[in-house]
Symmetry: C2
Subunit: 202 residues, 2 copies
């Protein structure tokens, strides 16, 4: 039997909903799961290593790769490019590894369409007041930034209905169990098991 | 918040694939799960109780209920009627209980359509030789009956692709974990979480 392709999990949600924490906990507890690494033209900070936090590229190389269609999506933010390299993801999936890709609500549907597959999951906070509390507790944002994030959160929440799944992040443990269940259930989808049925009927 | 409706799990698969064993193990391990009870006009056997193994009805009552449209499906087998009472299932679902309904491949799509919802799951054996081995090991069927069941199994397997999910029953434990994961994942489906999102946006 040939290697079964891994599953692509496309994760979005408002800032403060807990995507990062869930991803980290998921990578530590769910076997055969890796995260997609973005490419950027910004300089490495502190102990950041090429191929770990990001693929660090020169602006020239990044632009060449744009021309080649090497990115599933890319954007320029504050003078620096950020992009999602397709080959990196396809290689992991071909090896049978499940891949998590964190992306904003604009990018999610676009990536699923380009790849032709993917499980889209929206991470939602249990309530807006809880979301605000988490943003305040992080102590990384100014009052104005929090107000902006809260406004964006409402716009993002309106897109939640377009996702395959919504995980309401009440606790990290429960959210990670939801994610693990979704992965396991998706592996049981009929489309992913037709081969074994067809082998029996030959 | 109003009671969330339970999920209806419609389970099919060839005789010997392990539906019964999986159901029993699932009822013992997955919380908030019950099995749908069929109605029949045959007499109770041994310790069978009304409302436990079956709802035992007179032929007259059964026919009246057919007229009333009380059955999601029914069939006459060897002079006796068997049917799936709709009200019994709807009541459990309305109480928020998840309900398993075992039904043949002809009935599954029909029931999902009539109810307007339902998760269809096909239980498949890991191989036809394994299926035959299990049927032989049961020691309940004659050689001819086993040959007939094997022939039917191939016809049923051709329908597997029409189900939402296929669980390949390699071990009962794994199959029950698959079933639990499917239930949990389905609870995360966007459609089942729009209410909490809408509440946040009000």
């Amino acid at each position: 039997m040939k290697q079964k392709r891994g599953q692509l999990i496309i994760l979005s949600g408002p800032s403060g909903a807990g995507k990062g924490t869930i991803c980290e906990a998921a990578l530590n507890t769910i076997p055969n799961l890796r995260v997609s690494i973005s490419a950027t033209t910004r300089m490495p900070r502190g102990k950041e290593q090429n191929g770990v936090e990001y693929f660090f590229l020169s602006e020239e190389t990044f632009r060449e790769k744009i021309e080649e269609g090497a990115f599933l999506e890319y954007a320029k933010v504050h003078d620096h490019y950020y992009g999602t390299p397709k080959a990196h993801i396809v290689q992991m999936l071909d090896e049978g590894v499940n891949v998590i890709l964190e992306i904003d609500v604009q990018g999610a549907a676009q990536i699923k369409e380009q790849m032709g597959y993917g499980i889209t999951i929206f991470i939602a906070p249990p309530s807006l007041s809880e979301l605000k509390e988490r943003l305040v507790d992080r102590k990384t944002d100014s009052f104005e930034q929090i107000a902006l994030r809260m406004k964006n959160a409402q716009l993002e929440l309106k897109q939640a209905q377009n996702y395959d799944y919504i995980i309401v992040n009440r606790t990290v443990d429960r959210a990670v169990s939801d994610l693990a269940a979704i992965l396991r259930a998706e592996q049981c989808r009929s489309l992913n098991n037709l081969e074994i049925i067809q082998e029996m009927l030959m």
